[in-house]
């Protein structure tokens, strides 16, 4: 079957007739010819230069498309600029139409001005500092809006979206249990192994139990869970709200007189604040169990001994220190990821950027917050 794919390449031949130089075009002047199309168009210019008048004879052209016509127009314009009277001749009606349609004056796109690298660097630095401060300012404002929305809902409990809350708790809490159990079990086991291994040199293997109990309950359980949730649920929240923003769903909520903060943000943040303490508790248990297993197998500390030693090592306060932190971690993860979702602009790239930013910021803030809590608890000797 004769298809256009096997069209011949563009060609040209030159003929002098008195004062006029004829350039006869043959073959397919198509975008499909790629580089050859451009080369041949340039050749028209080089062949035509120096003549008084050039006629570009189009009668023998096999095929022409818009790219070919554009290339021919460009060549002709260049010849005219060089002082040559160039014209097209004997084009078939459809080719004539193409030539006419593509004879537009194309202004070169404005090129960016070259700038000083050092100045650029300073400007970037300044912009990012201002950006960070703005971010902080907006974050505080967002916290305010959140609290106001909670207040509004407390005054009118009818507005409370219970179903959404339960659904979100299932998504963020229940479905995270397997991965939380798994990583905390592993971390508990690693801490136990290292504790026993290092303390064995002092003949103090049993203190490994103190190490596990205190480290896991005060710090590791809540920290690992928060980081995991920031990565798992925080990113999901940002992506979900961000794509709603992209498709004008947030605007649709607004024009219905609904507040996106009340409808979208409050249930998600509250769900995180309920789910994270529960997950932290599960994480603590998993880590202690991991420690118990390793102590038993690797350190010859029987489970009964482990539990007795653990009871001596920790108090209720050790356990509570970790748990108290959880809702605050949840609050900060929830606010950052919902706010970043709402700040998404129209493009897919912007969505990706917001999700990344939300996760990085959440994890960073979780660690900062943990440090602040450590200072606070140390100050009050809890």
């Amino acid at each position: 079957m004769a298809t256009k794919i096997e069209a011949e390449p563009p060609e040209l031949t030159r003929r002098e007739s008195g004062d006029i130089r004829r350039i006869v075009l043959t073959g397919g002047w198509l975008l499909r010819a790629s580089r050859a199309l451009e080369r041949k168009a340039d050749e028209i210019v080089s062949q035509g230069r120096g003549a008084r008048a050039v006629v570009i004879d189009m009668s023998a052209i096999a095929n022409l498309d818009t790219a070919g016509a554009l290339a021919l127009n460009r060549a002709r314009n260049e010849l005219i600029r060089a002082g040559v009277a160039a014209s097209f001749e004997d084009a078939r009606p459809e080719h004539q139409m193409l030539i006419k349609e593509t004879a537009i004056e194309i202004l070169p796109p404005p090129r960016a001005k070259p700038t000083n690298l050092f100045v650029d660097l300073l400007a970037d630095l300044g912009l990012s500092v201002v950006g960070a401060l703005r971010e902080y300012y907006r974050g505080t404002g967002f916290l305010g809006e959140f609290v106001a929305a909670i207040g509004h809902i407390l005054l009118r409990p009818r507005l409370f979206r219970g179903t959404s809350l339960v659904y979100q708790i299932e998504m963020f809490g229940f479905r995270s249990i397997p991965i939380i159990v798994l990583i905390n079990l592993a971390v508990g086991a690693i801490v136990a192994q290292q504790g026993i291994f290092q303390l064995a040199r002092f003949g103090a293997t049993t203190y490994a139990v103190d190490l596990i109990g205190i480290l896991v309950l005060r710090e590791l359980g809540v920290l690992l869970t928060s980081i995991m949730i920031a990565g798992r649920s925080g990113s999901a929240i940002t992506a979900e709200i961000g794509s709603m923003k992209m498709r004008e769903e947030i605007d649709a909520l607004r024009v219905m007189g609904l507040s996106p903060i009340e409808v979208l943000v409050v249930p998600r943040v509250l769900a995180l604040m309920v789910a994270l303490p529960l997950l932290t508790f599960i994480a603590d248990m998993a880590a202690l169990f991991g420690g118990l297993l390793v102590s038993w197998g690797y350190g010859d500390i029987s489970p009964t001994t482990f539990l007795v030693l653990l009871k001596d090592a920790i108090g209720v306060n050790t356990f509570l220190v970790g748990l108290i932190k959880a809702p605050f971690m949840a609050l900060i993860i929830g606010l950052i990821s919902t706010q970043d979702g709402l700040a998404t602009l129209g493009s897919a790239e912007s969505l990706g950027r917001q999700v990344t930013a939300a996760v990085v910021k959440s994890i960073f803030m979780v660690i900062i917050l943990d440090g602040l809590f450590a200072m606070f608890f140390a100050a009050i000797h809890y």
């Binding site: 498309d65 790219a67 202004l107």
Partner: protein, 279 residues
């Protein structure tokens, strides 16, 4: 404009015509919901086929099935005489460069500017200089009637109609032989829609373009479509020239073309052409 439409309107029975798209016995099903139920359709080279049908009847689904974006249950789809299921990937890729597609919602890449969107197919498939690509992009913008300053805008900064035009410019980037348009004039103002029709007509005449156009725009059907095919119940219930459609006794076709909107247009068109209102 109508001169050209009449001149180009050839009887579909012309058997020498090359078939560009041939669909036979197409079945597409989502779960229990059968959208295409043994559909047959031919599109001939150089014609503009207008494809009509009620909302949700599966016009977009058919287009996606022809383009190979959907899995079909049964049937054969031949493009340029080649069965797409039987083609090795390399040839399929070559085949895919021979058509341009305008999706219903534009489907512009949201993180690229309009210029980059138009240059994307050129960059991937053709070896040409950046300068020529820039010029080509500006030309395509001019062809579809977008101002030059829209070249550096992001899709999110365009209006709905402008997105359609930019998407058409991208569909035309490789000067395709076959153009798929899904409701190209919806979302355009009447003047824009008329320009759009004119552009399609010009391209068809100058490039010998074959166009498969899903549309509800009766004006487009009249002014540029050589043939019209109508979809209902997963089958093509009628295909032929606009006259054939108007003369048809099929209830849905009667309702579609002779409903309030349809007959108003037919009436005015009849007066304009000095003809009799079709029965």
């Amino acid at each position: 404009m109508s001169d050209h439409a009449n001149a180009a309107r050839q009887p579909a029975t012309n058997s020498i015509k090359e078939i560009v798209i041939s669909v036979r016995g197409l079945v597409v099903q989502f779960g229990e919901h059968r959208v295409m139920d043994g559909l047959d359709l031919d599109v001939f080279r150089g014609e503009v086929l207008g494809f009509v049908g009620g909302s949700g009847q599966g016009k977009s689904v058919l287009m996606r099935a022809i383009l190979g974006l959907l899995r079909k249950r049964a049937g054969v789809i031949r493009l340029f005489g080649q069965d797409r299921d039987a083609l090795p990937p390399r040839q399929l890729r070559a085949l895919e460069q021979r058509w341009g597609v305008l999706f219903q919602n534009g489907a512009l890449f949201s993180s690229l500017t309009v210029r980059q969107n138009i240059q994307m197919p050129m960059r991937e498939n053709r070896n040409i200089s950046q300068r020529f690509m820039d010029d080509l992009a500006m030309l395509k913008l001019d062809l579809v009637g977008l101002p030059p300053d829209s070249a550096d805008k992001l899709p999110a900064e365009l209006s709905g109609g402008m997105v359609k035009r930019a998407a058409l410019a991208r569909a035309l980037a490789l000067d395709p032989e076959l153009l798929f348009l899904d409701e190209p004039t919806s979302g355009l103002d009447p003047i824009g829609a008329a320009e759009f029709d004119e552009l399609i007509g010009t391209l068809q005449k100058t490039l010998g373009l074959t166009v498969f156009m899903v549309t509800h725009d009766l004006d487009s059907l009249y002014s540029i479509c050589d043939r019209v095919a109508a979809l209902a119940g997963g089958k093509v219930i009628g295909a032929g020239s606009m006259q054939d459609m108007l003369a048809s006794d099929e209830p849905w076709l009667r309702a579609y073309f002779h409903g309030t909107r349809g007959s108003r247009l037919i009436g005015s068109l009849g007066r304009r052409m000095g003809g009799r209102e079709p029965a």
